[in-house]
Symmetry: C2
Subunit: 591 residues, 2 copies
């Protein structure tokens, strides 16, 4: 709902004043609207757009070089008057005529039509074009009576670019009409909006429902259905628009531009989720999409909903659509001339500054391998053991999830079990994939640690990732790791965790189990035990130490009531570490 | 709330895929985020920004020339992992080092810090800077522990521009830290947001209340108060930020840039309304605002709220802030080179293509006067009579509002009385102002008609505006109008209304009173009567004709049930026309 205003009846006026202040470099306030700060240059047709307010960036947000010369701004959802439209047209005129253009609404048609007469009477050649892109408003065959919605954007843009190229008023009108004939939009709505100061919403859509074709001011739509998934919505929009494709332009192989427009409360990330499927569906139908736009282009205050617009391009419209524009809210074309030229000079294939393919970019992101050449045979065998161990860990954690959750809930937020399950499962999958790709033990551990950290969420995931990462670096890919390398790796992990978490022994953290584990492992290795024996004894020690954490007090920083409450309960992180150590001991014993 | 998704757990991933498709010319998908389509040019420091998803255009929307080289993209409101941050850093690196920078959140600090270590270990010089602009999160004096919110924008922008200029990694870090030290933000929230697929909102603010300093993920704020007016909110924001101005930069005379950022559900028009007062208050405090931004820069899904950010500029930061940038969602700098150059060549003062002042633009919008020179004395005297008549009309309509509303409600929407009151009152004020400015009768009528049309709303306002306008053109400003001119003017108005509305005599509209009025007026004038006599007889005829409309059937196009229902009731538009005619007769009689 609209919450911020002073006198509700002055809302549009106040918004205009703020807009003109913020974008004073682009626009200047005139009675009834805004015009470009620079006068339209002599001989250029002026394009004046408009309609009611409440649709920003439409219409004032697109006034500037390459786009509109002026915008007429009515009250919220209300047509401006003829006098206002004429005043803006007059101020925008550069002597070569003025195109006035709006969406097709009765009030706009009436008032802008009257403004054309006034300008003509004053000796300013003027014409009017109404945009009629909304396929839901009137059936096929009566296209000229349809409402105008987000199709305003391509029509206004192509007409403006035609004017910028120096076309005559007749030619600019021809371009506007051609763009309109080739533009179709279907919109959906999930919720209405509230006018400034109004008691209730202007219109509503029931919770969990979607209205197909509801107009941007609440005008009647086609039907009401259950709220679909993003992919289902994409199909509804694509089929609705393509089912109404203009005569003679075709679908397969056609070049179109596409706009996925948010109405205010349907946000960018949601639009991108929908766009993913829209792009796929358009591709499947054989359409080539040129310079699409996904974002808020024509809003209705904070209405929830979105629309898909397609404009079938020909050579002329593609050139005009792609032409640069520089306005408060819509900019198109190459900006950073200096930097771009430097990059162009640099840019041979594969070098700095060059355009890169998706595959090249992925390669750029790849971590350098732990060994220079292919992994050693013994290290690869050890990697397979690591993958088996991680599979066993993931099983154990899935089984222990509830128990770990209960322990953690005594003094924490109870999500330790969930995090360990997610992290270990991701690590298992990453390890298996690395083994399948021929990786050595170090790379397998690194991949597993990275995924654990990425998927577990929270700090314990990061700590497990770092623990596996430290082990990975000691183990490497160049040789089958011996017991000493493993012990040194776990010790390095222990020290790393101390640095990162800032915890000390006795603070009631996983370190209180990991420390005794490291000590026992080092001792066994120093005594000449094989890894499986040393690990088994160390794992028993870790499990005991985990249990003993029930006598400890949580580390400084936790709130006192939590510290009190945790008396008699072991630390969940220490317990899970003990479990992991014991599972790994079992895997090693089976070799 | 977030409504559009497929698998909620894949929301961020799906959004990323759609984003990368829509903006493939700018960005390329890499594990953990996106980087520029063009490799960072050799020798340029790479700036990598990031954090959780859900904040678009932050952070992927600002990747491109002049701004970030890459963005790390975590799950919604969740830090990316160290491996992800390192992967994006690696892909962004141009060999001269990488600055990783995020808002100051524990998860980001931990993971991006680890990523710096990884990159350094691989031989890629890397540094990390956390943005700490949120004055509400921690008290003054502990600035370094504050959260980062919309202050990300100026810090990332200035650091990126510094890198684009060729500064070394140390210098880019210096610029980022300086910008951060000079940046302060205060935010307010009116409503929370819902994570994709979640049962309820992540956090809420009670209806009609405002939380000051609530974090963008629902972190605790300073206080909760009643929802203020836009002007009161502007004061809260400006005082909050200025009250925490950085040491040593001053307020009076300081140059700042300002960002008024919408969080998702607080829309553009509302932000402009608030900005109007923010700009005024900053001006009153003596601050000079340079290239402000008002819009959605750092959102939180569809959270309701906004924030004000100020960055105190020095010469270096002002240059870096103003430097061009070209990214999917943020573009800055001069674009339309050809058109701009043509305008520059054109642009002498006062000519086509020239930059114009507010006053010059207002003059450009002004309608040409009805007479070439100053208005004739007799015409001015007649203008005063017109103004008196309009004052009497406004009185009569105020008195008749309820009656006209009741008549209109029988077969219409009952707003005719309200529209006549609003229109006639606006016309009265415009006529009086025109008389005071020395206008002749034609100009007084034109001004009154324009305001009637602009303020009455609906079609009847437009028709009254046109009626007065047609009369204005016949009457002119060059001579005291005689009876014949007035009769011809009203007749021209009658014909104009027939053209515009498409109604014919007998359709039960105001024309059914206006037609007989014109006939009677013409007859009287032809018989040589003075205007007041002819008008009085015509007014009586109009009133009778209005009453007789109760026997007519509404014009074609109204629904049949309404036509039936209106039997026996006169047309409201005809009745009000009869009233106006009689009021004017009274004014003329008093002369």
């Amino acid at each position: 709902m609209t919450r911020l205003f002073n006198d509700p009846s002055a809302f549009a006026e106040d918004a205009k004043a703020g807009f003109c202040d913020a974008f004073a470099a682009y626009v200047v306030d005139v009675p009834g609207g805004v015009v470009r700060r620079r006068r339209t240059r002599a001989g250029k047709v002026a394009v004046v757009v408009g309609g009611g307010s409440g649709h920003y960036p439409a219409f004032a947000g697109i006034v500037g070089p390459g786009y509109a010369d002026g915008a007429v701004m009515g009250n919220v959802f209300t047509s401006p008057s003829a006098a206002e439209a004429a005043a803006v047209g007059r101020a925008a005129s550069g002597g070569a005529g003025v195109l006035l253009t709006t969406g097709n609404y009765a009030g706009d048609v009436l008032n802008f039509g009257l403004a054309v007469e006034r300008l003509e009477a004053e000796g300013i050649p003027a014409r009017y074009v109404a945009v009629t892109d909304d396929v839901a408003s009137v059936g096929k065959g009566a296209d000229g009576r349809r409402r105008g919605i987000a199709g305003d954007v391509p029509v206004f843009k192509c007409a403006s670019a035609a004017a910028e190229e120096g076309m005559s008023l007749d030619e600019v009108v021809r371009v506007a009409e051609k763009t309109n004939e080739r533009t179709r939009t279907l919109g959906v709505a999930f919720g209405g909006c509230t006018l400034p100061g109004a008691e209730g919403p202007l219109f509503t859509v029931p919770e969990g429902r979607m209205s197909v074709g509801l107009g941007i001011h609440g005008e009647a739509g086609i039907e009401e259905v259950d709220l679909p998934s993003a992919a289902e919505l994409a199909r509804t929009l694509v089929e609705g628009v393509l089912g109404d494709a203009p005569e003679g332009v075709g679908v397969e192989g056609a070049r179109v531009t596409a706009l996925l427009n948010g109405l205010g409360n349907t946000k960018y990330e949601e639009l991108f989720v929908v766009w993913k499927d829209v792009a796929r569906l358009l591709g499947e139908r054989g359409l080539v999409v040129v310079e699409p736009e996904v974002g808020e282009l024509v809003t209705s205050l904070d209405m929830a909903g979105c629309s898909l617009t397609l404009t079938w391009l020909d050579e002329e419209l593609e050139r005009l659509w792609a032409a640069p524009a520089d306005t408060p809210a819509y900019r198109k074309g190459r900006l950073v001339q200096g930097a771009q030229e430097a990059e162009d000079a640099d840019g041979e294939d594969g070098s700095a500054g060059a355009v890169r393919s998706d595959d090249e970019a992925a390669a750029d992101a790849e971590a350098p391998p732990l060994s220079a050449g292919p992994a050693d045979e013994g290290s690869r065998a050890a990697g397979a053991v690591v993958a088996d161990a991680l599979a066993a860990i993931a099983d154990r954690m899935a089984q222990a999830e509830d128990e770990l959750g209960r322990i953690d809930a005594v003094a924490g937020d109870g999500d330790h079990g969930r995090g360990m399950v997610r992290g270990s499962a991701a690590a298992r999958d990453a390890a298996r994939a690395a083994v399948d790709a021929g990786a050595g033990a170090g790379t397998v551990l690194q991949a597993a640690g990275d995924e654990w950290a990425a998927r577990a969420g929270g700090t314990s995931g990061v700590l497990w990732g770092e623990l596996l990462g430290a082990l990975a670096r000691r183990v490497g890919d160049d040789a089958a790791p011996d017991a000493a390398a493993v012990a040194a790796g776990v010790r390095a992990g222990y020290e790393r965790l101390g640095e990162l978490g800032g915890a000390k022994p006795g603070d009631k953290t996983m370190l209180d189990a990991l420390g005794p584990f490291c000590d026992a492992l080092d001792t066994g290795v120093a005594e000449g035990q094989r890894l499986r024996e040393a690990w088994a004894r160390a794992a028993d020690r870790a499990a005991r130490a985990a249990d003993e954490t029930k006598d400890l007090t949580p580390k400084v920083g936790r709130a006192r009531p939590l510290a009190e409450r945790s008396k008699g309960t072991p630390d969940a992180g220490a317990v899970s570490l003990g479990m992991v150590a014991q599972v790994v001991a079992g895997v090693l014993a089976d070799r």
